[in-house]
C-alpha cells in the first residue's frame, strides 16, 4: 500500500513551496510536496524577473521556476502532481482530500497555494477569455503582433507587462483608474519613455465587446464621461485573488480578502499549519518574500515536530 502519512506536507510548488521543499528535503524530513499544475506558480506568468538577488542580469520567470525545481530536486525532493480539494485541520493529524477520491495525512502542513490574477468582473470579460481577454502577457503577447492592445492596471505587473507587450504590439494603451501609477519607479520610467505606450488616466473599463474576438472597450472616467476604445485585445493585470477554495477559511481565520494571517514565523491560527507566499495575508507579494517565507515555514514545522515527539 502506498504511503499516505507524512510528517510534513507542502501544498503548492511556487517559489514558497519549492523553497520549503528544498529546505525540507535537505533536512531529510519525511515530506511530500503536492502541486496540481506545474512547478513555478505565478512566476510562470511573468516574462522577466529583474529583482531576484543572485541573477544580476535578470532571469525569465520560466527559467527561475526551472532552476528552483532542479535545485529542490537535487536534495531528493519528494513530490507528486495531485489536486487537493478539501482538508480537515481540526485534529492534530491533518487530513487532505484529493480530487481522485484518495486522501493523505500529515503532522504539519505548509500552505503555499498562492494566488491567481483578479478579473475585472465586467460584462463581456468572461465570454472573451482566450478571444482577446488575457491575464498573461507572457503567454498571449505574441498573438498580438502589430495590433493594438490595452492593459488595465497601474501596479508593477501592469506596467512591466505593458512594456513587454510593446515587443509585439504596435500600440499599447494602459488604462488606470487613478492619475498616477503605483508601480516601482524604474518600471514607470521605462513605460513613460516607451513611444509605443500611451496612457488613459482616471478611467475604468465597464464592458468588453466584440464579435468573434474583442473589438472595443467601454470606458468611464472619473467625471462620469463615457467613451470607447478600439482594441484587438485587453490584458487585465489588476492584482490577485487567493487560491483558497480547498482551505477551511473559518478555522484559519482568513482575512476579508480570503488570505491567511500568520505570525512572523508563518504559523497560522491552527497549530502545526503554516502559510507561506502569496496566500499569506500581507502587503508585499514578491518572489523573494515567498521564497523566504517558505524557508521560515519549514523551520517552524521542524520546531513543531520536535515539540510533538
Amino acid at each position: 500500500m502506498a504511503k499516505t502519512h507524512y510528517n510534513l506536507i507542502i501544498l503548492g510548488a511556487g517559489p514558497a513551496g519549492l523553497t520549503a521543499g528544498l529546505y525540507a528535503a535537505r533536512a531529510r524530513m519525511d515530506h511530500l510536496l503536492i502541486e496540481k499544475g506545474a512547478e513555478g506558480g505565478q512566476i510562470l506568468l511573468t516574462d522577466w524577473i529583474d529583482n531576484y538577488p543572485g541573477f544580476p542580469d535578470g532571469i525569465s520567470g520560466f527559467d527561475l521556476a526551472e532552476k528552483m525545481t532542479v535545485h529542490a530536486k537535487r536534495f531528493a525532493l519528494n513530490s507528486i502532481f495531485a489536486n487537493v480539494v478539501s482538508m480537515d485541520l481540526t485534529e492534530p493529524i491533518k487530513r487532505l482530500a484529493l480530487e481522485d477520491g484518495s486522501s493523505l495525512s500529515c503532522d504539519t502542513l505548509i500552505i503555499c497555494t498562492g494566488a491567481h490574477p483578479r478579473p475585472l468582473g465586467i460584462p463581456g470579460e468572461k465570454e472573451f477569455i482566450g478571444k482577446g481577454v488575457s491575464y498573461c502577457a507572457t503567454c498571449d503577447g505574441p498573438f498580438y503582433r502589430n495590433m493594438h492592445v490595452a492593459v488595465v492596471g497601474g501596479g508593477n505587473t501592469a506596467v512591466q507587462e505593458a512594456s513587454h507587450l510593446t515587443k509585439f504590439a504596435q500600440k499599447v494603451t494602459l488604462i488606470h483608474r487613478r492619475d498616477e501609477l503605483r508601480a516601482t519607479k524604474i518600471l514607470q520610467e521605462k513605460a513613460f519613455d516607451n513611444p509605443k505606450i500611451n496612457f488613459i488616466w482616471n478611467s475604468t473599463v465597464t464592458r468588453v465587446s466584440g464579435n468573434e474576438g474583442v473589438e472595443e472597450l467601454y470606458l468611464l472616467d472619473n467625471s462620469g464621461k463615457e467613451s470607447t476604445l478600439k482594441v484587438d485585445g485587453v490584458f487585465v493585470l489588476i492584482g490577485v485573488l487567493p487560491n483558497n477554495e480547498m482551505l477551511p477559511l473559518d478555522i484559519l481565520k482568513a482575512d476579508a480578502g480570503g488570505f491567511i494571517p500568520t505570525d512572523l514565523e508563518t504559523r497560522t491560527s491552527v497549530a502545526g499549519v503554516m502559510a507561506a507566499g502569496d496566500i499569506r495575508s500581507k502587503e508585499v507579494r514578491q518572489v523573494i518574500n515567498a521564497a523566504g517565507e517558505g524557508a521560515t515555514a519549514v523551520l517552524a514545522a521542524e520546531h513543531y515536530l520536535t515539540n510533538l515527539s
Partner: protein, 108 residues
C-alpha cells in the same frame, strides 16, 4: 506542455487527425507558455484515461501558424474539442481536470 504521451499534430496533418470518427481534443501550446506547462500533466493523464475513445493531441503554435489563426486563437493554452472535423467546444487557460473532463464528455 504535454510530453510524448500526447502526439504532435501540425498544420499539414491537422484535418486528417481531427476529421476522423474518433473525437479529438487539440491542446494548442507553445514552449514559452507557463500555463501550458502547468496543464501538461493533466492533459497527459486524460490522454491515458480516454485512450481509444478520444484522441488527445497537441499543436505547437510557434511551428504551426495556420491552424491557430483559422480558429482565432489569441491565448494559450487553448484546448478545442472536435467531432468528425467539427468544433464542439473549447476552453482557455490552465483549467482543472474536472473542467477538461466536462469538455471531453461533450463529444461522447
Amino acid at each position: 506542455m504535454a510530453s510524448d504521451k500526447v502526439k504532435d499534430v501540425s498544420d499539414a496533418d491537422f484535418l486528417s487527425v481531427t476529421g476522423s470518427d474518433t473525437p479529438c481534443l487539440v491542446d494548442f501550446w507553445a514552449p514559452w507558455c507557463g500555463p501550458c506547462k502547468a496543464i501538461g500533466p493533466v492533459v497527459e493523464a486524460l490522454a491515458e484515461e480516454y485512450e481509444g475513445k478520444v484522441a488527445i493531441v497537441k499543436m505547437n503554435v510557434d511551428d504551426n501558424p495556420e491552424t491557430p489563426g483559422k480558429f482565432g486563437i489569441r491565448a494559450i493554452p487553448t484546448l478545442i474539442l472536435f467531432k468528425s472535423g467539427e468544433k464542439v467546444d473549447q476552453v482557455t487557460g490552465a483549467v482543472g481536470k474536472a473542467q477538461l473532463i466536462e469538455l471531453i464528455e461533450k463529444a461522447l
